[in-house]
């Protein structure tokens, strides 16, 4: 059995371990709520995290498509970038996958799977690096929005004084 087959077989267990590790970064009352409520509108944080980590794990086991990986990483990090976390803890959820995988497949990890296992770790590291980019982009976005908000707030003043360089519409680039 290849490592990929093994991981695919244990996919749900790994997800559960990983989700648990992420929920552990929240206060216990919040973690209980995030786990309990499955409504995507009433529990956007929990559901976004689940969507993000399920998507990532499937990419790791599947095509490892860069665009989709960035999308799923963004789902989680856009939320964690504005929560009570240091950058290391906010982005650290990606690296927590390593531990989750090790815990689930520990007994089945025979020496012939090691090289595949090292490749897997490299992939997770690669995602972690994307994660740093996304986290920084989110934080920069917030500062950008602060400036933009001030311009909007006094828009007519700036417009009347001819201080608006460009049209309001679309002056903030798509991220």
């Amino acid at each position: 059995m290849s490592l990929r087959e093994l991981l695919t077989e244990k996919r749900d267990d790994i997800l559960q371990e990983w989700y648990k590790a992420i929920l552990d970064t929240y206060p216990k009352e919040a973690a209980a709520f995030l786990r309990r409520n499955r409504d995507r509108f009433e529990n956007p944080v929990g559901q976004r995290i689940l969507e993000g980590i399920e998507g990532l794990l499937d990419e790791i086991l599947g095509d490892f498509d860069e665009k989709r990986i960035k999308y799923f990483t963004d789902r989680v990090l856009r939320v964690r970038a504005v929560q009570d976390f240091n950058p290391s803890v906010a982005t650290g959820y990606i690296l927590a996958l390593k531990k989750a995988i090790r815990e689930v497949i520990e007994d089945d990890l025979s020496p012939e799977l090691w090289s595949e296992f090292l490749d897997l770790l490299d992939k997770i590291d690669e995602i972690a690096l994307y994660g740093f980019d996304i986290y920084m982009a989110c934080r920069e976005r917030l500062y950008h929005l602060k400036v933009e908000e001030w311009k909007k707030r006094v828009f007519l003043l700036l417009k009347r004084a001819n201080f608006i360089f460009d049209e309001r519409e679309g002056s903030l680039p798509q991220q």
């Binding site: 552990d24 956007p44 009570d84 650290g92 828009f155 003043l157 009347r160 049209e167 991220q175």
Partner: protein, 543 residues
């Protein structure tokens, strides 16, 4: 050489789980992005509020009066006697937990003290510990504690992390309105000189100048005239609204953001275009130049004072009734308080009767003030407006129920009725995120300031999440709302969570769709919307 720890050991040594302490033993950590700047000394002085000084929540010493305990307990006692609701809310909670997961700040942050039940408990524990016998005897066992400086800091942190949206109260089987607990918390903090500048400076401006932004009469007039030039470019109409005109039939009052900020100005242009279409006999005031009322977020007295100028001006100008613009908390004040705190309305006012349709707005018999959306919805229902909804075809629209008009006055259908007539593509967000269950923009109750950005983005996530859903499902690209704070705050919120979606007021879309007689006969042609963007993509013919 020191022994290197194995990766396994290193991993195990990292503990990301927050410490498990009882909420009473978990002190507040003041982190940037999660609290608002305190009010300036001068502003507090101008308003005659207690204890003006330079201070910061980040400091250890908040420079509160030495007899602060006495002041707060006396203030609490007075309010417990004065407001029966406050006393009830302190007594009757059974901790069923129905409200616990209904607050947008809790949903976004995961901070247990943002659960409405616990936010109220911050105050209730003091009530028990200082005012009730079981609390005095059993202390913590009865959920009671004593008032300390730490508690005051905690109150400041969490009562300015509540947007008074009242979503939690919808779910409370006892009808406890945590918003009113927040209001009491803020009033008590004011007694010690603990407040935020983003609320008090607009209050000061409103009291001294007439509007939150501090725009003086000539600036109000010039701004609106400037908007009229823009309207002329788009529609060819030369609109000359009157200011402070005695004898007009209607006084129109809008939130000041609508004639200063983007995208509120397009909503204001929408009002003007509609009034011109109707040939309405209305006037604008440079004195009652603010529909909003940050006094509501300060104290009952201040709310009353700011609201009073609408009636003063209506009386001075001798108008027959008042129409109010698209604003959020302005309507909560009008619906719940205006009649009792500032009524009865001046005798020159009459029960509002639409001069176009003859509809009498019976529900406003006492306040003599109606919402522009009910006025417009009535016009549409009577077929008085020639509308071409295809002019808004580039937009796929959804509607955000602003907390105050929806939960504060049950205002759900009128804006939707209008939207369905002025645009062809309208989709509501999922049922548990709209109408009385609507999610707050995350910036209400005077918290829409930039230093509070992190909290605002968290608190706004449930709303943005629902917008994202209709964006992906139906291609929604425009979020309409009837609140000036929403128009400002949701724009920023969308730019973070769903940048493909813009924000507008309902009357911006009304004006886009409104077909003037000259346009109908083909004498004139409208190619631009109020934002001076093409009505339709370049490859399609503009009508």
């Amino acid at each position: 050489m020191a022994k290197l720890p194995k990766p396994e050991e290193l991993f195990d040594s990292i503990d990301w789980t927050p410490p498990e302490t009882d909420w009473m033993d978990t002190p507040v950590e003041f982190q940037p992005g999660r609290w608002c700047y305190p009010a300036k000394k001068k502003v507090v002085e101008d308003l005659g509020f207690p204890n003006p000084r330079e201070w910061s929540p980040a400091d250890e010493d908040w420079k509160i009066p030495s007899n602060w305990r006495e002041i707060v307990l006396e203030g609490m006692k007075e309010r417990l006697e004065k407001y029966r609701s406050f006393k009830l809310f302190m007594d009757i909670c059974v901790r069923c937990g129905a409200c616990a997961d209904k607050c947008h700040y809790f949903l976004g942050s995961g901070d247990p003290k943002n659960m409405p039940v616990l936010r109220a408990e911050l105050m209730r524990s003091i009530y028990k510990g200082e005012f009730t016998l079981p609390g005095k005897i059993f202390g913590r066992l009865a959920g009671a504690r004593k008032l300390t400086e730490e508690v005051i800091k905690e109150w400041f942190y969490y009562y300015y992390q509540c947007s008074e949206c009242r979503r939690c109260s919808v779910f409370c089987p006892y009808g406890i309105d945590t918003c009113e607990v927040t209001m009491m918390g803020r009033e008590l903090l004011h007694l010690l000189g603990i407040n935020i500048n983003w609320i008090l400076e607009p209050v000061r401006n409103c009291v001294y100048i007439g509007n939150h932004l501090g725009l003086q009469p000539h600036t109000v007039k010039e701004n609106i005239e400037y908007l009229c030039w823009d309207i002329e470019e788009v529609t060819g109409l030369k609109i000359q609204p009157s200011f402070n005109r005695k004898g007009a039939e209607i006084l129109f009052v809008a939130p000041s953001g609508d004639y200063f900020a983007d995208p509120g100005i397009y909503t204001f242009m929408g009002y003007l275009v509609l009034f011109e279409y109707l040939g309405l006999d209305y006037t604008l005031s440079t004195y009652a130049s603010e529909g909003g009322n940050f006094g509501l977020f300060t104290s009952h007295e201040m709310m009353q004072k700011i609201n009073a100028k609408i009636y003063h001006e209506a009386e001075r100008l001798g108008v027959k009734f008042i129409i109010g613009g698209e604003c959020g908390h302005m309507w909560r004040v009008k619906h719940q308080y205006m009649d009792t705190v500032n009524g009865p309305a001046p005798s020159n006012l009459e029960v509002p009767k639409s001069p176009i349709t003859g509809t009498v707005f019976e529900h406003a018999k006492s306040t003599k003030m109606i919402h522009i959306c009910e006025f417009t919805a009535d016009l549409i229902a009577h077929g008085k407006l020639e509308l071409d909804p295809s002019r808004n075809d580039k937009y796929v629209v959804t509607f955000h129920d602003s907390c105050n008009p929806s939960r504060g006055m049950g205002f759900f259908e009128e804006p939707r009725f209008i939207l369905k007539h002025v645009c062809n593509n309208f989709y509501d967000m999922p049922e548990n995120t709209i109408r009385e269950k609507t999610f707050c923009c995350g910036s209400g109750s005077g918290l829409n300031t930039d230093e509070f950005m992190d909290m605002r983005m968290r608190g706004g996530l449930p709303r943005a999440n629902a917008v994202e859903y209709v964006h992906k499902k139906h291609g929604v690209n425009m979020l309409a709302c009837i609140c000036a704070i929403d128009r400002a705050a949701l724009s920023t919120l969308m730019q973070y969570w769903v940048p493909e979606v813009g924000v507008c007021g309902v009357h911006e879309l009304v004006a886009n769709a409104l077909v003037f007689p000259d346009e109908k006969t083909g004498k004139k042609k409208r190619t631009l919307d109020l934002r001076q963007q093409p009505l339709k993509p370049e490859d399609e013919e503009n009508v």
